[in-house]
């Protein structure tokens, strides 16, 4: 059986599945239940500085969007950092870590952008026996209006500065949590590295409004007829998170910087994808909030089965395996030619491929009176839309044309050679062939 144990910046956990800093990790009761269910670690919900705790709204904190059968696809929240006293959280963290020494307990922190504030809190967190800290520079709502959270994460100089303060004031590993509400995710990652951070974690939530109440015209979630943007997470954000993780993993300036992958991890497969794109472990929130802590059992069994089947014997061995394959568009092989293929046995004749291709693409699928759908290779540009809209997985696939075969659409013989845009004759910037 595959070894799922994880060592992330020296923090050990029996598996790479951590619960992200969020409502599920706000208190001892939940965290104990999570550990009993099998979670490898938690990032405790963000602590603020000493003093009166922050307050939350007393109306809805979450909004959502759904897919078919009301499957939750995206969740938005306007909850702030912990609203419980600092001492209570610290006491509970200490108790949990004492009882679960093999699990990772990382503490998320957000205090004002002054060194004194960080200096004050770090020893107290360290005293709990926690394994590390995560700097919450990502929260996009509420706290950012007070100069914290994403307000820090959007300014690379601040990230570097605070990371440096933390490294100077604690022996615990420092993970910087990044906000995706920024143009180029590599900039804050580079700043975190420059400040001496041990790792980055991403993504935090994305600024969002989940909907509008069409009777009251209030944004959702609605607080007395008004709404404020919240932070969006869940399956819908996974592709955005994957790209940002990959961008950092393949950036020469941050290459090798450990990454804790966050954003829509719902199944073992999602987790494996984050690992492959360079994440050393993953953090989960929405899936647990949707289905409860038990989902970790599927994540563990699924990842384990896949690793066994593919001969991957450690988590570390998977990390970054897809990173070399992430490239820029200009380097994609233009001599790679595929055509859609419809498995007539699997086809249930819904005709969605036809509608999609006929109405919105390249008129490359024909429909017979008895509802047989066939790809016309001379029109098919291999856009993949038919694959994407087909309700039967595996019914439509993309088949590569072998070198030497003539592509009926272009009339050109498929070449075995790799050729990309940088050398294409239509590219005015192309280097002269020689």
């Amino acid at each position: 059986m595959a070894d799922l144990s994880s060592n992330f910046v020296g923090i050990k956990s029996p598996n790479p599945f951590w619960l992200a800093s969020a409502p599920p990790t706000d208190k001892e009761y939940n965290v104990r239940r999570a550990f009993e269910a099998g979670w490898g670690g938690v990032v405790w919900k963000t602590l603020g500085e000493e003093g009166p705790p922050i307050v939350n709204v007393n109306g809805p904190r979450y909004g959502a969007i759904w897919g078919a059968d009301r499957r939750l696809l995206g969740l938005n929240n306007i909850e702030l950092i912990t609203d419980r006293p600092l001492e209570v959280n610290l006491r509970e963290i200490k108790a949990v870590k004492r009882d679960y020494p093999d699990r990772a307990v990382v503490v998320s922190i957000m205090v004002p952008c002054e060194e004194a504030a960080w200096k004050a809190i770090l020893p107290r967190v360290e005293e709990t026996g926690a394994d590390g800290i995560e700097l919450n520079f990502g929260c996009p709502h509420g706290m950012s209006e007070r100069g914290m959270g994403a307000a820090v994460g959007q300014v690379p100089e601040y990230i570097e500065m605070v990371a440096r303060w933390c490294k100077a004031n604690t022996r615990m590993p420092v993970i910087v949590k990044l906000t995706p509400n920024i143009t180029d995710i590599r900039k804050p990652a580079r700043a975190a590295k420059a400040g001496g951070a041990d790792a980055v974690s991403l993504i935090n939530t994305i600024s969002s409004i989940t909907g509008v109440d069409l009777d009251s015209f209030s944004p959702l979630p609605s607080i007395d007829g008004k709404g404020s943007h919240g932070g969006y997470c869940g399956p819908a954000v996974k592709p955005i998170a994957l790209n940002m993780v990959a961008e950092i993993a393949r950036d020469s300036e941050t290459a090798g910087l450990p990454i804790s992958g966050i954003g829509g991890v719902t199944t073992w497969r999602d987790a494996a994808e984050f690992l492959a794109l360079g994440a050393g472990n993953v953090q989960v929130c929405t899936a647990a909030m949707t289905y409860g802590f038990k989902i970790v059992q599927e994540m563990i069994s699924g990842l384990s089965q896949w690793m066994d089947e593919r001969g991957h014997d450690s988590v570390a061995g998977i990390v970054g395996r897809a990173v070399p394959n992430v490239t820029d568009w200009q380097y994609l092989n233009l001599n790679y030619v595929t055509k859609a293929r419809i498995d007539q046995e699997a086809c249930i004749k819904c005709g969605r491929c036809f509608a999609a291709c006929e109405d919105t693409s390249h008129q490359a699928i024909t429909m017979s009176p008895d509802r047989v759908f066939e790809v016309q290779d001379d029109e098919c540009v291999a856009c993949n839309l038919c694959v994407d809209v087909c309700p039967v997985e595996g019914c439509i696939t993309m088949e590569q044309l072998e070198p030497g075969v003539v592509d009926p659409r272009t009339g050109r013989t498929v070449s075995a050679d790799y050729a990309n845009w940088t050398t294409h004759p239509n590219n005015p910037m192309a280097r002269a062939a020689e």
């Binding site: 078919a68 059968d69 009301r70 249930i348 004749k349 819904c350 005709g351 969605r352 036809f354 509608a355 429909m367 509802r371 309700p391 039967v392």
Partner: protein, 440 residues
């Protein structure tokens, strides 16, 4: 109440009132909003959808399901009613398992179709419960059309004509309009007086005058109607029944199934409706199943459907046959009646070779204090001068008969398949043709 299922003869009150009430409740309970949301999510919104093609009224099923899915069942109902003004009844009585749901791609893929019939009922019930009628009558054309027969074909025709602004008079022989919707459909498919409620709702369009107790041959003649109106539509159904041609057919206890069903539908108190202890239904169509199942639900101890051919030839759908079986009705295939005796029916096994049916000579008897004949209805009372073909009024295209200015549709006309939904389609299409003929 002294009677039970075992009481000999034909008596009422075989079952307690509560049991009868439960037996005759909705066959398919209506979907609630949550169930409708779950069911509508399963629709793939197929291109040129097979369900739509299979629907005799060509309802845009993917569109109406999407409208339910997006929280606008009223818009969904409008989509349905634009094609089929009796979409509420059709949602209840259509054999969807042999029409839209049979060809649903999810039936093909998973053996579990989208529940189109129940979703249609959800939409139509939602709109009808609001009491409003979704269509307005067009500006008056001054043209007058007579519709003979207030069943599904006639009502559908009348409504479409009224929409176009014509003045319509519907003549119906019965004491109520609705035709087979009111008198001929199994009670558990149309509970709560739905048929009459639907007629009243349909008539809200205005411009339709319903005259009851008037029929061709009793007060009406085609000649007079042609003289008084600009066009005539015949939707007179099949008023006659086939004879059993078995000895003893005239004995007491032998009865037409359609009469029994009509009496049952009109009964105010089913505990007073007499039914035999041993009931035999002769026939293989929907009427046979409706009569047999309802006999069982009234408390008959033994109910047997006797059909002269094999199962695959039976007119009732597989769903209907299974329904009968689940209610405890026995279906006997390849047997035909020979004679009705006192308390018994004598039957003979049959064999079908090269399409022709004959007795094997082997005879047997079943206890039968009541025998229902459900061996098909026939055209009766068609006006002379109208060409008849294969026992039905001959029509071409959009229901034109051999007589100028006279259209026909529904069960009485050639070409249909004796379904409510087909009658609705034919009535609608004839109305469109009448409109073209009158307005040009």
């Amino acid at each position: 109440m002294a009677n039970s299922q075992m009481t000999r003869g034909i008596v009422s009150g075989r079952l307690p009132a509560e049991t009868i009430a439960r037996n005759f409740s909705d066959l398919h309970a209506p979907l609630d909003a949550h169930e409708a949301a779950v069911a509508s999510d399963r629709c793939y919104f197929c291109h040129d959808a097979p369900c739509m093609t299979a629907c005799p009224t060509s309802i845009d099923i993917p569109l109406f399901i999407r409208q339910i899915q997006t929280g606008t069942p009223e818009a969904a109902a409008r989509t349905i009613f634009e094609q089929n003004i009796l979409g509420g009844m059709c949602a209840r009585v259509c054999p969807t398992e042999t029409l839209c749901e049979e060809v649903c791609v999810r039936e093909v893929a998973e053996g579990k179709p989208v529940e189109i019939g129940r979703l249609q009922r959800f939409a139509t019930d939602t709109l009808m419960a609001q009491g409003a009628h979704p269509f307005a009558r067009g500006a008056s054309t001054g043209k007058r059309v007579a519709v003979v027969g207030g069943g599904p074909a006639g009502l559908s025709c009348a409504h479409r004509l009224a929409m176009k602004g014509h003045d319509v008079v519907v003549y119906d022989a019965g004491p109520k309009a609705g035709g087979l919707n009111e008198f001929g459909i199994a009670s558990y498919k149309s509970v709560g007086g739905f048929a009459q409620a639907e007629v009243e709702w349909l008539l809200q369009i205005g411009g339709i005058d319903v005259r009851l107790g008037e029929a061709l041959g009793s007060g009406l003649t085609l000649e007079a109607l042609r003289k008084d109106f600009d066009a005539v539509f015949l939707g007179i159904g099949l008023a006659g029944v086939n004879a059993l041609r078995a000895e003893g057919e005239d004995r007491g206890g032998v009865r037409d199934a359609v009469d029994f069903i009509a009496e049952l539908r009109q009964s105010k108190d089913l505990t007073t409706l007499p039914i035999g202890r041993n009931v035999v239904v002769i026939g293989g169509g929907m009427t046979a199943v409706d009569a047999a199942v309802q006999s069982k639900l009234l408390g008959a101890e033994n109910v047997t459907i006797v059909y002269r051919r094999g199962r695959e030839r039976m007119g009732a759908s597989e769903f209907e046959q299974d329904l009968a079986a689940s209610k405890g009705v026995r279906i006997l295939y390849n047997a035909m009646p020979v004679a009705v005796h006192d308390g018994e029916i004598e039957l003979e096994y049959t064999v079908e070779t090269a399409g022709s049916l004959k007795g094997t000579g082997e005879r047997f008897r079943l206890a039968a204090d009541q025998v229902f004949k459900a061996i098909g209805q026939v055209l009766a009372g068609a006006p002379s001068g109208v060409r008849i073909e294969g026992g039905k009024i001959s029509v071409s295209g959009d229901g034109r008969t051999s007589v100028d200015g006279v259209w026909a549709g529904g069960d009485c006309a050639s070409g249909g398949d004796d379904l409510t939904v087909t009658a609705v389609a034919e009535g609608r299409d004839a109305a469109e043709d009448i409109h073209r003929a009158l307005i040009g």
